[in-house]
């Protein structure tokens, strides 16, 4: 997906102005985000069905989850969305240094999220809680696992974009990849915003 947004080669220049490329990439990215919603939608549907079927199981099992760690991670991700948004605004105004640093901060937040998740998963495994323990934990591991996968992909994408930003590849005239990376990162954040209350908070 992300390569789509980095289209800037010779063949491409033959038939697209930067403005056209920007609006095409933006439409393409939004369509792609739509497919992501449908992907997670399947899991949310499964959550709704099994939650209605086994309310007690969900109540008991969700108490095993570590709310503090979940809350910290929620804070981290929301903050990273802020830094990403600042980064995008910065590059639109031609401030390459600020944009690069903001993307770097976003990446550090993403890594921090991964570290917290690592300890969370670790403590579940040490309590002998695995994906096959019960339906709730099947959902927990599948949903957060798939989300984690998206975080990793996001980190790789943002890593590439950060290097290119520091190399001054982007400026106020051309910042499409930064914006697309930002959109993707906001989606990753948004999915978590739903996962956190559904899994950790609602009893």
């Amino acid at each position: 997906m992300e390569e789509a947004n980095m289209e800037h080669d010779a063949h491409h220049d033959l038939h697209m102005t930067p403005e056209e490329e920007y609006s095409s990439s933006k439409l393409g990215m939004w369509l792609f985000l739509g497919t992501e919603i449908m992907l997670f939608g399947g899991l949310f549907a499964a959550y709704a069905i099994f939650r209605a079927k086994y309310p007690e199981l969900f109540l008991e099992s969700h108490q095993e989850l570590n709310r503090e760690m979940g809350a910290v991670n929620t804070g981290i991700l929301i903050f990273s969305s802020l830094t990403m948004a600042i980064g995008v605004t910065a590059i639109q105004r031609g401030k390459q240094m600020l944009a690069g640093i903001m993307i770097l901060v976003t990446i550090i937040c993403g890594l921090g999220f991964g570290v917290v998740k690592y300890f969370e998963y670790g403590s579940k495994f040490s309590h002998h809680i695995y994906p096959d323990t019960n339906i709730f934990f099947s959902l927990y591991f599948m949903m957060t696992g798939l989300h984690m996968l998206h975080v990793f992909v996001g980190l790789i994408v943002l890593g590439v974009i950060m290097v290119m930003t520091f190399q001054k590849k982007f400026d106020e005239k051309y910042s499409t990849p930064v914006e697309m990376g930002g959109l993707y990162w906001h989606l990753v954040d948004l999915v978590w915003i739903y996962l956190f209350p559904l899994l950790y908070l609602v009893g």
């Binding site: 789509a4 095409s24 992907l39 399947g42």
Partner: protein, 537 residues
């Protein structure tokens, strides 16, 4: 028009550049279209040969040619290869790639590199599935749980391959939607777009919205087998019917991913050979979107016997009938286009007419199956097999063959032998009906699908069906040889052999590398046959 400036520019056909590498790294939508065309055709032929083997086994009531297990493997392979490797990417990826930029007056798709990437993802998926053949699955192409979660054949590999294919489908769909939105030539308004473009657009919407759902479904099935999660396992509190809900939420819209592009092809062929403007342009255009929309609301009609509630079943039965409306709108409009037309029975036109005839049978028998009471009797019988093949072969494959014969001169700049093409059409049409029409009767008499053996009283109809499959096979063989032979013929195709008004025929055959020397200005729709001055052939 674009061809006026040919004299001033050097014309380099897109096929000019030779060498393996020039294909591997190409971002030319026409070349990528060809690569898809070759790949899906190969899978069509392989899966077709598997079907012939199955029909051969079914000549006699006993399992004397292959064992029942091998038979299960064969129908799984036939279904999976046909559905996921031929018919879903099918027309959309091959002809969609080739035609969309040409028809809307663009030099390429919106994301050419991504387009090539999608093709490589398709290839990656095929390699994974070919690897999975070492220990082939026997679940059928639907991978129903709980069997798929417990069989010891390699379900994980083949589902993972299909999962990977899904990415290819999604990215292609996204690429096409953006292309159609952003890259239309000046004057190419929405209501001047060729109907194939409308069909491709509706298909792409389905690909985007439905494919991720089958993606997560297959992912969950893999997790079920590898991590022991229990969403579909009653022993763990899961629900096997949930798998069916998920699966058909994709796979019913996927049926329209398969058929809508073929409907687009028919809408292109019929007006050209009837020399009349297409009747009911807007009705055909919007009915594509209508089918796409309704297709998301009917999935549970595959599950009337799976234990869903009567209320749900009644609602889904009703919603299923709604699909008949936009489909019938298309058929009636095609017929109205033919009415009082000056019809030329070119081989492409024969396939188009075959489509209308056979698809009508396929569509009407679908209404039988959508009816709740009838479906209880007909579910999982040969009636379903016959219905499905009337839609998929009678519909999509007829459209595919029609498209092949119609755009062949444009793609390759060569001509095939028209008489042989007509002969192969005749064999395909007759063979297909002899193969599948008896299966309606078998189904009504209660012959269940997916068995290697059957009671003796069915043998005469079963054998008839097998004879038909040989005629069908022969027809496809002759067609394939004819089309391949045409590539090596010396006969060069003219720019516009049928006098079509559509943009792709206004450039030389085969088209130049960048399609148009100058982006054309569009001043009218593409179906003004018989009314205004027509372009010279």
């Amino acid at each position: 028009m674009a061809n006026e400036s040919v004299a001033t520019n050097v014309y380099v056909p897109y096929l000019e550049q030779k060498g393996f590498m020039s294909w591997l790294v190409t971002t030319d939508h026409k070349r990528i279209g060809i690569m898809y065309l070759i790949s899906i055709s190969l899978f069509f032929l392989i899966a077709g040969i598997i079907a012939l083997l199955m029909r051969f086994e079914l000549m006699t009531p006993m399992a004397d040619f292959v064992s029942p297990h091998t038979y299960n493997v064969l129908f799984t392979l036939h279904g999976s290869l046909m559905v996921f490797f031929f018919i879903v990417p099918g027309l959309a990826a091959s002809f969609g790639n080739f035609l969309i930029p040409l028809m809307i007056g663009a030099p390429d798709v919106a994301f050419p590199k991504l387009n090539l990437g999608s093709y490589y993802i398709y290839i990656a998926g095929t390699i994974i599935v070919l690897y999975a053949l070492l220990q082939p699955a026997d679940t059928g192409w639907t991978f129903y749980t709980p069997y798929s979660a417990t069989t010891d054949t390699d379900v994980v590999m083949i589902t993972f391959g299909v999962f990977v294919l899904g990415f290819s489908s999604i990215l292609t769909g996204m690429n096409f939607i953006v292309t159609i939105h952003k890259m239309r030539a000046p004057g190419m308004t929405w209501h001047r777009l060729p109907l194939f473009i409308w069909a491709s657009y509706a298909t792409a919407v389905l690909q985007l919205l439905a494919t991720p759902v089958v993606g997560i479904t297959l992912l969950l099935l893999i997790a079920e087998r590898s991590l022991g999660v229990g969403f579909f396992d009653p022993a763990k509190g899961g629900d096997p019917v949930l798998f069916q809900n998920f699966f058909w939420f994709y796979s019913h819209p996927a049926v329209y991913i398969m058929i809508i592009p073929a409907m687009g092809v028919i809408s292109e062929i019929i007006p050209v050979f009837a020399r009349k403007p297409i009747f009911g342009y807007k009705a055909i255009a919007y009915s594509s979107l209508g089918i796409a929309f309704i297709s998301f609301l009917v999935w549970a009609h595959h599950m009337f016997t799976s234990g869903i509630s009567e209320v749900a079943a009644t609602i889904f039965s009703f919603l299923t009938f709604l699909v008949a409306i936009p489909t019938a709108i298309k058929v009636f409009n095609w017929l109205a286009t033919l009415y009082k037309g000056s019809i030329e029975l070119h081989s492409a036109m024969l396939y188009a007419l075959g489509f209308v005839f056979l698809f009508t049978i396929g569509g009407l028998t679908g209404v039988f199956l959508g009816a709740l009471a009838a479906d209880i009797h007909l579910h999982d019988t040969y009636f379903v097999v016959a219905h499905m093949h009337y839609v998929m072969i009678g519909g999509t494959v007829m459209g595919f063959f029609g498209a092949l014969h119609f755009w062949y001169p444009k793609w390759f700049g060569k001509m095939f032998n028209e008489s042989v093409a007509k002969l192969s059409w005749f064999l395909v049409f007759v063979g297909f009906n002899i193969t599948f029409f008896p299966q309606f009767f078998l189904g009504i008499q209660g012959m269940p699908r997916r068995y290697a053996t059957y009671p003796e009283e069915f043998q005469s109809l079963m054998a008839l069906s097998t004879y038909g499959s040989w005629i069908l096979g022969l027809g496809v063989l002759i067609m394939t040889v004819n089309l391949i032979k045409g590539l090596f013929s010396d006969e060069k195709a003219p720019q516009n052999p049928y006098g079509s008004l559509s943009l792709e025929w206004q450039v030389p055959s085969p088209p130049p590398t960048l399609n148009f020397d100058k982006i054309p200005e569009v001043t009218d729709w593409t179906y003004g046959y018989g009314k205004k001055k027509e372009v010279d052939a």
